[in-house]
């Protein structure tokens, strides 16, 4: 009898708090978005599942001694995002960017989304109940970098309490890029601009692809050491792939290793989706600012491309500026799609891949600035 009572008192039904129930709904919503809507399922499925597991009453899966507690160490120590960044580096082909280096400037311009939403976050402090510190604002702004591992890395260093919401916002908006970007791109360009065809790119030699990651790392060492964990691991992955002599390491980095780490990272990020961290007015602010960040970044990229098109001797289709936010490769595909709508013979995909991967570098640089200036 006593046992029956103690059993009843150990059920989830008896112990549920409203917050946990709501967070579990958030978890199921993320699973729905991942599975049914195809929103970045590789990340949002484990994140959603992690949110469910960590909000189970009594079980304490995210508390000391629980699985997610141990896994979270991989985020706290920065290990998981850096290993994912290495894998992404190994998957990245810098060829299109090296063939047309000035597209790097598009990747720079689109980072304006990061800093604009940082300002936005600070401005939101006028709303009663919201109190974003400079660190919080920077961590929120990095959503605009449209790069998952970078956002998680920066948030884990600057504002771990907001990590869950920031990661969810970053991956959700990356999935929403095909919805967010087109209206902005159409509004800022004329039909004639969208029709612009770009010159075929030169091919890039293997030597250039080998030297580039090292050069990128070197520049980052000289100017911005705080960005070198991110850029370094990215460059390592890229070098492993480009050099061709460590094929088996490169394959493992972009397959099994990144898969294992993705499962662990997703679950651990999900474990930060606790009621008292997520069910706050701050989260609404983060979601709103994240959307602004993507929109502003897109606009900045397009405007920069229009400016460059005016002064460049070879034509630049402003649509590829939108790809500068990164969100590889969706943003480049969006640019390609809009280009084809206006001109069925205009394949912008390769041209958009330049700014697209430049956007990854750009946000890593922006992350370095934030990490080095905000103490």
């Amino acid at each position: 009898m006593e046992n029956l009572v103690s059993l009843w008192q150990s059920t989830g039904l008896y112990n549920f708090t409203g917050g946990q129930a709501l967070m579990m709904l958030v978890g199921f919503l993320l699973l729905y978005l991942a599975i049914k809507k195809g929103f970045e399922p590789l990340l949002l499925l484990p994140i959603g599942f992690g949110a469910i597991l960590s909000n189970i009453p009594v079980a304490g899966i995210a508390e000391e001694g629980g699985l997610l507690y141990y896994l979270y160490f991989g985020i706290k120590a920065g290990i998981f995002p850096l290993l994912i960044f290495m894998g992404v580096g190994a998957m990245t082909d810098f060829g299109p960017m090296l063939a047309n280096p000035k597209t790097l400037l598009l990747g720079a311009a689109a980072q304006f989304g990061i800093f604009a939403s940082l300002i936005g976050a600070l401005a939101l402090n006028v709303v009663p109940g919201l109190e974003f510190t400079l660190k919080d604002a920077a961590a929120i702004g990095i959503i605009g970098g449209a790069d998952g591992p970078t956002a998680i890395y920066v948030a884990s260093k600057l504002s771990p309490d907001l990590l869950g919401a920031i990661a969810v916002a970053a991956y959700s908006y990356m999935a929403l890029v095909p919805l967010i970007q087109p209206p902005i791109m159409r509004a800022l360009t004329t039909e004639a601009e969208r029709k612009i065809e770009m010159q075929q790119m030169r091919s890039v030699s293997k030597a250039e692809k080998i030297v580039f990651p090292l050069m990128l790392l070197l520049l980052s060492i000289l100017l911005l050491p705080s960005a070198t964990p991110l850029i370094g691991m990215f460059a390592l992955g890229n070098l492993m792939n480009a050099c061709g002599v460590v094929e088996r390491l490169s394959q493992t980095a972009q397959n099994e290793l990144i898969n294992i780490v993705t499962i662990f990272l997703g679950l651990s990020v999900g474990s930060k989706l606790s009621a008292n961290a997520f069910l706050q007015i701050e989260t609404l602010g983060i979601l709103a600012l994240g959307a602004c960040a993507f929109a502003i970044g897109t606009a900045a990229g397009v405007i920069m491309a229009k400016i460059m098109n005016r002064f460049s001797d070879t034509p630049i289709n402003p649509l590829i500026g939108a790809a500068g936010v990164s969100a590889v490769p969706m943003a480049a595909r969006v640019a390609n799609k809009l280009g084809l709508e206006s001109n069925p013979h205009n394949f912008l995909l390769m041209h958009a891949m330049g700014p697209n991967v430049a956007g990854v570098i750009g946000s890593a640089v922006a992350a370095g600035v934030l990490l080095s200036l905000i103490k």
Binding site: P101, S203, S220, L223, G244, V369, I374
Partner: protein
């Protein structure tokens, strides 16, 4: 509050400045590097890089075999 805001605005200018500075320097560095590489290590285009790895080259042969076989199969005398 106003102080926080001014820090934020300073951060924005500084940040965008550095991002542009960094990527602009990278543009110059790439142009220089490409010129040097093309002069001192003139290679055939990196065909080898975009070529399939061992696995996919197997696939290619497989595909070729399949196509040949299917072709044969359809044109059976």
């Amino acid at each position: 509050m106003a102080e926080l805001m001014s820090s934020g605005i300073e951060l924005m200018f500084l940040g965008m400045g550095i991002v542009f500075l960094f990527l602009t320097m990278l543009v110059f560095a790439i142009n220089l590097m490409s010129a040097l590489v093309q002069r001192f290590f003139p290679e055939t285009p990196a065909a080898s890089l975009s070529t399939p790895t061992g696995v996919s080259s197997l696939d290619k042969s497989t595909v070729a075999a399949i196509m040949a076989a299917v072709h044969q199969y359809r044109n059976k005398p």
